[in-house]
Symmetry: C2
Subunit: 167 residues, 2 copies
């Protein structure tokens, strides 16, 4: 097939660059706050937040890896750090002996509670300050379909094309 457009139009470029810069600055500020307030990396915070959100306070390792981190070993590393810090506990799943269930502890919830207000403050002050309620609604409405589309689009070539002959 013919080449895709070799470039983005100016409007797209503007949106793309703004998105990159905004999220980069936001991420940086958030990471600093998390580090200061609770000595947590962003990934660790995401893991705790996911566990805290869950009705049971638990998730399977694989589910966490799919949602937050991109490799299993990476999650094992982070989970063992969190466990060492007493913020989570790991136990074999009751229903499937292969699985490991990660559960947030009281200490984990406490840390989450201690860190969250500052987190919210940063996000409010940096991201939402210049946006009206309607703006925020619009933004959410724009991003939702993008997220759904990304979720449903298999990361081309992400799936291990382990075929030896392949390009």
């Amino acid at each position: 097939m013919p080449d895709s457009p070799p470039s983005l139009d100016p409007v797209q470029l503007g949106a793309y660059f703004a998105l990159v810069e905004v999220t980069s600055l936001l991420r940086h500020a958030v990471e600093q706050q998390l580090k200061e307030a609770g000595d947590l990396s962003y990934v660790q915070f995401q893991l705790l937040a996911r566990l805290g959100d869950s009705p049971t306070g638990s998730h399977r390792m694989t589910d966490l890896a799919d949602g937050v981190v991109y490799s299993r070993s990476g999650l094992t590393y982070q989970a063992s750090l969190l466990e060492k810090a007493g913020l989570v506990v790991r136990a074999p799943s009751p229903d499937d002996e292969r699985s490991t269930t990660v559960t947030i502890t009281d200490a984990g919830r406490a840390l989450l509670a201690r860190v969250l207000p500052g987190h919210v403050e940063v996000v409010s002050g940096l991201l939402f300050e210049p946006l009206s309620r309607d703006d925020v609604r619009t933004l959410a409405a724009l991003l939702a379909p993008v997220r759904d589309h990304m979720r449903s689009t298999p990361p081309r070539s992400a799936a291990p094309r382990r075929r030896k002959g392949g390009a």
Copy 2:
């Protein structure tokens, strides 16, 4: 102590989570493409792109550091990698002997050209596919003020109070 707003409202939460997820997935896809197409990290790509955009093909180290990376030593590290690969050249500035001017080479431009189409393809296919032209316009219009606001908001406690006259 009086708590700050303990939480974001549901609309804000939705926008925030969508933003985080969208940019996370996008970043991941882009990084993979850059790695495959040109063995470039995202930071390295950003540096080359900035240099390629410049009319002179050059920037001072400090200007690059301010725009892309957050520490000078980090930039020195990346610049030396790029120089080793023949993609940029470093030379003392003519006007200020303290400064170093980084300039993209022909090889650097060639690599950029080889990598860009795939980059555009990923961004188009992932980010812009589900958005109409008006959507993109709206998105850009929403993010621009946020970016400006973030730029003008000193990262609380980030800057080691290097402010000259100020506080």
